[in-house]
């Protein structure tokens, strides 16, 4: 029994940042990177299933990313996952969610997992594409924004809840194997223990190239091309400046005026 969890290293911008010379991305000097928030929940969900089954499931973490992405992979491994796979090739530098899904599809064929989890979206680009594109490529059952899951490793079906708008949830059963995108709040992700972090450094990680997966650069062509990236025109926010006491005094004035106090 095996659960494959795809994780991403998300990028966050420094308070001040500059665009790259070609104007199509932010200059890489201005990034902070970390495991995508949603992936803490998908890794946790896989670990809970593994533990409930008395360890009778292997949890494999897959990431598409350069050496930098090793950190995110180890963060996931430190929570108790068994091993990792990292795929990289310079041709992946402009990969979008669909390109990443094409790589993951090859990994799924190779690993034959019983279940695949992704995060519902990434905290940086938030396309909500990768998981369900993967399902489309595989022709597997799929559900997005899963906020509750009842699944035993190897079972032919799972029962889940999809989180809809306004706090409503839909209960559905789904045939397995399936690809599920996992929503925030489905569980309470654990922090890695010191022991876990130490062990993560020793855990086996397969490093694969596109070639190893039988993919060429043409196979991972993006589904959209970035023309340019730019800072949005900032709205009209009038900045309240001064010391905290002065700022609060002005805010109190605004409140009292608007509330007729």
């Amino acid at each position: 029994m095996k659960i494959l969890v795809a994780v991403k290293q998300a990028a966050f911008l420094d308070d001040e940042f500059e665009m790259r010379a070609d104007g199509r991305d932010v200059d890489a000097d201005f990034f902070e990177k970390d495991l995508n928030e949603f992936d803490h929940f998908s890794v946790e969900e896989a670990m809970l299933i593994k533990e409930a089954a008395g360890d009778a499931a292997e949890v494999v973490i897959a990431i598409v990313g350069d050496e930098d992405a090793d950190d995110a992979l180890r963060t996931a491994l430190a929570k108790g996952a068994d091993r990792g796979i990292r795929v990289w090739d310079d041709a992946l530098a402009e990969a979008d969610g669909v390109a990443v899904a094409r790589v993951l599809a090859r990994l799924v064929e190779r690993e034959q997992p019983d279940m695949v989890f992704t995060g519902a979206q990434s905290a940086d680009f938030g396309s909500a594409v990768t998981g369900m594109a993967l399902a489309g490529l595989l022709g597997w059952p799929h559900a997005a924004v899963v906020c509750n899951l009842d699944y035993t490793p190897g079972a032919k079906t799972a029962t889940l809840r999809r989180e809809l708008e306004g706090g409503l949830e839909e209960i559905m059963t789904i045939r397995c194997p399936a690809v599920l995108s996992i929503q925030l709040g489905i569980n309470q992700p654990r922090y890695a223990s010191l022991r876990g972090i130490k062990q993560a450094k020793q855990k086996p990680v397969d490093e694969l190239s596109l070639d190893d997966l039988g993919l060429s650069a043409a196979d991972i062509a993006p589904v959209a091309r970035v023309r340019k990236m730019y800072a949005p025109e900032r709205g009209k926010a009038e900045l309240i400046t001064g010391s905290a006491a002065e700022q609060a005094a002005r805010l109190a004035e605004i409140i009292k005026e608007l509330r007729g106090m």
Binding site: F125, A128, G136, A143, E165, G166, L168, T173, P232, I254
Partner: protein, 317 residues
């Protein structure tokens, strides 16, 4: 003479209101001679034809099937329509249902794809879509060279819902064969609000992850009480169980429907949070990060520490 296709949605037989926004988005790039068709899967699609007969819609494609959302069926419909009609654009609302079917349909079709699109335009005949990146701090213009068809999911609450009256022709389409892997089993309604009324509150003080720790929450409850505000929060605060879900503002929580003054402290301004409060007339943002996207929708901004501001504010009430 392009064909534009909108995939409308319904839940339990009620039209998904954002479908009209997707129609408006498609209509914004409709040129003379183009046709705009709207497809809808429902148990009784005819009952919703009226609601979809808005200005600019030339055809409603009615597909009779279950009201249950089945991504496999929606994808089969998109594939069948795309193959038969070769639409230049397929647009649908970026709602939770689309999260399930749009990427899967796009890879099966091999078409261009962009999600959560907030603006689109034609530039020298090429479709250009704009979406946000890096937690809403930048915008990205995307185009789709070499793609005959482009599928876009349209951010909600951006396009004015399509209105006006049209007289589309109605085409009935048999549901295509699809291997349906999901079964609808029921609904779980949101938990009881326990007297907390975000939709009815005129004045909301909302806290986000900037609050840092559960033990810091109490002082904001007191501050809100002192000012006569209702305390709201962003999702992580509710997910952590620091405040009840009924206080969560946003797409999967509450809409601050009656709010006139919204003070957001330590909230970054994600699209899902904005969904519940962007419309409020006076928004005040307090955030340590001057680039936080909440400032782009705020009327007043304070770049500063929410604890210091809260402490000082307390002295005024």
């Amino acid at each position: 003479m392009a064909e534009l296709l909108v995939i409308a949605g319904q839940r339990a037989g009620e039209l998904h209101p954002a479908s009209l926004e997707a129609i408006a988005a498609a209509r914004s790039v409709k040129l003379a001679g183009d046709t705009l068709a709207v497809a809808l899967i429902a148990a009784d699609p005819q009952a919703l034809v009226g609601a979809l007969s808005v200005e600019g819609v030339d055809e409603v494609i009615a597909i009779k099937a279950s009201d249950d959302f089945q991504p496999d069926l929606t994808e089969a419909v998109i594939l069948a329509l795309a193959e038969a009609r070769k639409p230049a654009l397929i647009a649908t609302a970026h709602g939770v249902d689309a999260w399930s079917f749009a990427p899967a349909a796009a890879v099966k079709l091999g078409c261009g794809l962009a999600t959560d699109v907030q603006a689109l335009r034609l530039e020298d005949g090429a479709l250009v879509a704009t979406r946000a990146g890096y937690a809403e701090k930048v915008l990205v213009d995307l185009d789709f060279p070499g793609k005959e068809t482009v599928l876009l999911t349209i951010r909600t609450n951006v396009f004015e819902p399509a209105a006006g009256s049209g007289s589309p022709k109605v085409t009935e389409m048999a549901a295509p064969a699809a291997d349906i892997a999901t079964t609808h089993e029921g609904w779980k309604p949101p938990a009881d609000a326990g007297g907390i009324d975000i939709p009815g509150s005129e004045f909301i003080l909302s806290i986000g992850r900037g609050v840092g720790d559960e033990s810091n929450v109490e002082q904001f409850l007191e501050l809100a009480g002192g000012m006569g505000a209702t305390l709201g929060c962003s999702r992580p605060i509710a997910d952590n169980g620091w405040l009840p879900k009924a206080r969560q503002v946003g797409q999967s929580g509450q809409l601050a429907a009656s709010c006139k003054l919204y003070i957001a402290m330590g909230v970054s301004g994600s699209v899902q949070h904005q969904w519940g409060m962007k419309h409020v007339e006076t928004i005040v943002a307090v955030n340590t990060d001057p680039e936080a996207s909440i400032f782009s929708i705020a009327r007043y901004g304070i770049v500063g520490d929410m604890f210091e501001i809260a402490e000082e504010l307390q002295n005024h009430f």
